[in-house]
Symmetry: C2
DNA sequence: CGCGGCTTTGATGTTCATCAAGTAAAGTGG
DNA sequence: CCACTTTACTTGATGAACATCAAAGCCGCG
């Protein structure tokens, strides 16, 4: 269950997001946002955004890790991308449609800041520099998703798996040792292959002494070779 | 029309784009754009944007049909999407990086309007409503590309092919009879399968009396069945 | 006219999905 | 806390889907 934190003291001016996103808002505007925003906390594996619901809020991830995914009727989800702190998790739909085109769920305990969409639109109307920042962020996000999607399309199974492991190691955890925040099934849903073959691929990598596996814990033994496989082979 | 024009040669006020994009520019601003813009004409199969070049211009397609594609070193291009008149062909890179991340080539004779990127940025700074329009258009475009990409990922070969043919029929030509503006190889590069299997798929569809083929000319005989295959089967 | 790219079909092999079956781990309710 | 249920993980066997290779006809173009 999502619990609401009432912010008695405004912390937004210290928020890291400020540097990235609120650069062009005045002190007063930030205070306004801070008073209007709500913060929600989620355990792991909770629904944050439900596909098909009305877009009313502008949301960004403050802490944690989430997946954006398409909820296909037949039960075969497709993971679009993973979002990390400071990413705008409502970014894909918020300026283009009035209902969410995808769902968002937490992979680890996460907190989300929520601002009324009307407030964002008002800032956008009165503050062009803010809007340009917003557009750049939007553009960067979709570029990244698109780039990863094309990359995955190009690669064979081993390449896809190597890319995903490499991504977790470098982009999410900045370490060669980490706890996988996703199931094998979720890796499969992201890579667009079957769960069994993700597992087989991981076993192969283990036998090749490329990685070490114990349950959810992964160690990348040969990062360079993994990267080479991820960029094809 | 009854209105006196300051510049009789300027046609931008009659441009269809005005309704979609320049809604929030003043008469004078449109005249400015009109005087600054350049129009280029391309035969089919010409390079309009070269991957890796510096982003200096804001470009939209006035007439024709183009492909946006990734130029992989090994020679295996990946087509990202097709753009039609009024689409912004520089849209993917223009607000996120300083070099183009993909190439654009004409599939049929096309004309492109080019505006200095600095001018767009200046309008964006002084005219928030314009920027919001721009952001919506950006968002719609990338949403559409992403949606198609996920759809293609989900489908098997017949489904992918059916989707592409259906797309050309409904979105590009609005007719069940049309001249294919792409080679079989290009369909393959878009769908992410081999050229031979696209050809085999088309032969199957022909044998199934789903489509009629004579060279580049295609007739969709059973649009509904094609659509059903495109949404899976 | 000849060259290169596009199209087509057939044959072959590889990759991967699917099915099956079992173990391990993680919730769930009494 | 334990029995029960469900979900995740793993391996093997099988077959289908698809890539690749090969060969030949076709078309447009210099």
């Amino acid at each position: 269950m999502a619990e609401l934190q009432k912010n008695t003291t405004c912390q937004c001016e210290n928020c890291k997001l400020r540097d990235i996103f609120f650069n062009h808002l005045t002190h007063d505007e930030i205070i306004d946002i801070c008073n209007m925003r709500k913060e929600y906390h989620y355990a792991d594996n909770e629904r944050i955004i439900v596909q098909g619901e009305k877009v009313e809020k502008f949301m960004y991830l403050k802490e944690g890790l989430v997946k954006l995914y398409l909820d296909n009727e037949n039960g075969a989800d497709q993971i679009i991308s993973f979002a990390r702190p400071l990413d705008f998790i409502s970014i894909l739909s918020v300026f283009s449609t009035d209902t969410y085109q995808y769902s968002v769920s937490s992979l680890v305990p996460s907190s989300v800041c929520v601002i009324n969409i009307e407030m964002i639109k008002e800032f956008a109307t009165t503050n062009p520099a803010f809007t340009i920042d917003l557009m750049e962020k939007l553009s960067l996000t979709t570029d990244k998703i698109l780039h990863e999607s094309l990359e995955l399309k190009r690669l064979n199974l081993r390449g896809k798996l190597a890319m995903v492991l490499h991504m977790f190691s470098t982009e999410i955890f900045s370490s060669t040792v980490f706890e996988l925040p996703v199931t094998r099934k979720e890796i499969a849903e992201y890579a667009g292959v079957s769960t069994e073959n993700i597992i087989r691929g991981m076993s192969e990598f283990r036998k090749d002494k490329l990685i070490r596996i114990s349950g959810k814990e992964i160690e990348i033994i040969e990062p360079d070779r993994l990267k080479r496989i991820a960029s094809y082979g």
